[in-house]
Symmetry: C2
Amino acid sequence: MTQKQPTIKEIAKKLNISVSSVSRALHDHPSIGLRTRLRVQQLAKEMNYEPNQTAIFFQQRKTFTIGVILPHLSESFFSDAISGIEDTAHKNSYTVLIGQSHDEMEKEQQLLESMKKHRVDGLIVSISKNTSSYAHFEVLKNANIPIVYFDRIPNMPDIHYVACNMVSGTIQAVNYLHKKGHRVIGLLNGPEKLFSSAERLDGYRKALDKNRLKYDPSLVANSDLTTEGNYEATKKLLVNKRRVTSIVAFNDYVALDAMHYAQEQKVKVNKDICFVSYANFPFAKYLRYSPMASVEQFPYIQGQKATEMLLELLKKNDESETNPGYYKIILDSQLIIYNQQ
Amino acid sequence: MTQKQPTIKEIAKKLNISVSSVSRALHDHPSIGLRTRLRVQQLAKEMNYEPNQTAIFFQQRKTFTIGVILPHLSESFFSDAISGIEDTAHKNSYTVLIGQSHDEMEKEQQLLESMKKHRVDGLIVSISKNTSSYAHFEVLKNANIPIVYFDRIPNMPDIHYVACNMVSGTIQAVNYLHKKGHRVIGLLNGPEKLFSSAERLDGYRKALDKNRLKYDPSLVANSDLTTEGNYEATKKLLVNKRRVTSIVAFNDYVALDAMHYAQEQKVKVNKDICFVSYANFPFAKYLRYSPMASVEQFPYIQGQKATEMLLELLKKNDESETNPGYYKIILDSQLIIYNQQ
DNA sequence: CGTAAACAAGCAAACGTTTGCACGATTATT
DNA sequence: AATAATCGTGCAAACGTTTGCTTGTTTACG
């Protein structure tokens, strides 16, 4: 029976006291006598009273909601990150609004707009692959809505972010391949402009140095991360006159395509050529050809840290403290070696 | 610089007119003259005015938000469904609040509670595997928040839902195996109490009948959908004295485990035994052992239809029409045959 | 020219909650 | 016993918007 939700007003009337007293009683305000407090709380329970959050949001100019914008839910990296975000947010009685940009800048802008309209208190963002301008983020900044970026962070100064340092993991990956006897190691990297591509390249070069291997630019290929792009880049590495015996691939999805392509070219995966990739694909053990190892980026923890950071910022905002600076958290990535079977 | 958002009041003051006129002008209300309307709209644009949604939500007793609760985002079935939901919701200027139950009833209850607090206008739910009581849903019903269930629907009367009829797809699957020469076909089903398990069994039996094969209960095994449960159930089918040459598996994840187990038992997948499953796993082509075919359940369309249904219900609610009954949409599933390579 | 119709705009209430301030009543202090 | 401190409660404003009703002004018509 569609009963209208009871309000504080009705409680007040039934008890013949003022609304303010009811409000205070429900919040255990010290200035309310024990007697009335108890009477109020009991009646509230009886009537099944629940505060009208929309009224509170409005009154407090706060929605206790954080928005999350990321490329897609379907990538296990992101759905794990979401879990970290959700868990942390709920623990602090925040709600999470999720939107997928599908790697399109236009969609990202729309989502940002819609989240701003819905007055989210803050945002956690992993930017789309095709985002080239950051104006839409500036708008939010001006509206005083804090943003924490994670994983895919924009190349701009003065931002808060959580990321995973790919350098360390990449070094571990190359070291591992070197120890396994590989001397011609290719890097199948992502788009050149991406920060995370630069990191991988950095780690790759450092590790080569450390192992006294000479850096050879022709052993590095960039892909735009589409399947075709992945094939193209793999091809570039495979036709190299030096015989590439192993490849470090930008992520598991790239590796999947690369292995598929290699196999089509009659290059035997895990025999003629080995792969190491990133992100720890959950189905690795079921794959026909699987990488030997993968660099774990701890998405759940990244989500968690990003949320904690955002909540911290919101608290500072509430107390209108001037921000002391910009937060950064950088986790170390870590190579996970799969059981060879 | 953290400029406070301008309000309708300030516009009114600057133009020396009343707030009501401003409000109406912005809504193109006919009772406002062209002159003032233009003046208002121009100033609003100049000042970068944006209506305060929280105030509107409060005033209209509506949040234009729909909640979605499902087991997990990581299953591609669900993340596809989410895309369908999001697209449809955004098209109608609704926002989507997502929560994962992680297949735990307790989490599901918490989410429901939190969404109710946040005053979502309606809900789309795919229930958790471990949900045994439906009391928490009844509460929402009493609060007049409509719920549309999809895919995993609770076994209770008087609900709105969107589902995919598994009978047709199952029949196609068994027919396909029969045509390929299989005569001993096992059914690796889900938990017995699940409606979708019953459907698969139904289709399975119907198809056997049609193909003049006798139904043999020992060729049906139920799994609780954990990896161990999947192994257990597969074992039951493999040790059957009749040599099972093909298995219809509850879904792709179950099939993955079953194939893994079979291979460990030296039963050659796709030679000694073939699999057909459900849900059209996106990585099928990369798998070591992949099913021959999969029954597609059109998650995107299910999400879309569920959202449309919910929006319809909300409209009726607004116009306080009495509900004529309960909506059901049942899509037909369809067998997708993978390219054998 | 007088009356009715159409048009433009304003007033004020309402949505549910929180909170600064004021007030009366009780208790403590000297 | 008078004054001060403390306690418990209420008043009213505020948050930003929408909307039914009223009012004043212009236009149209006979």
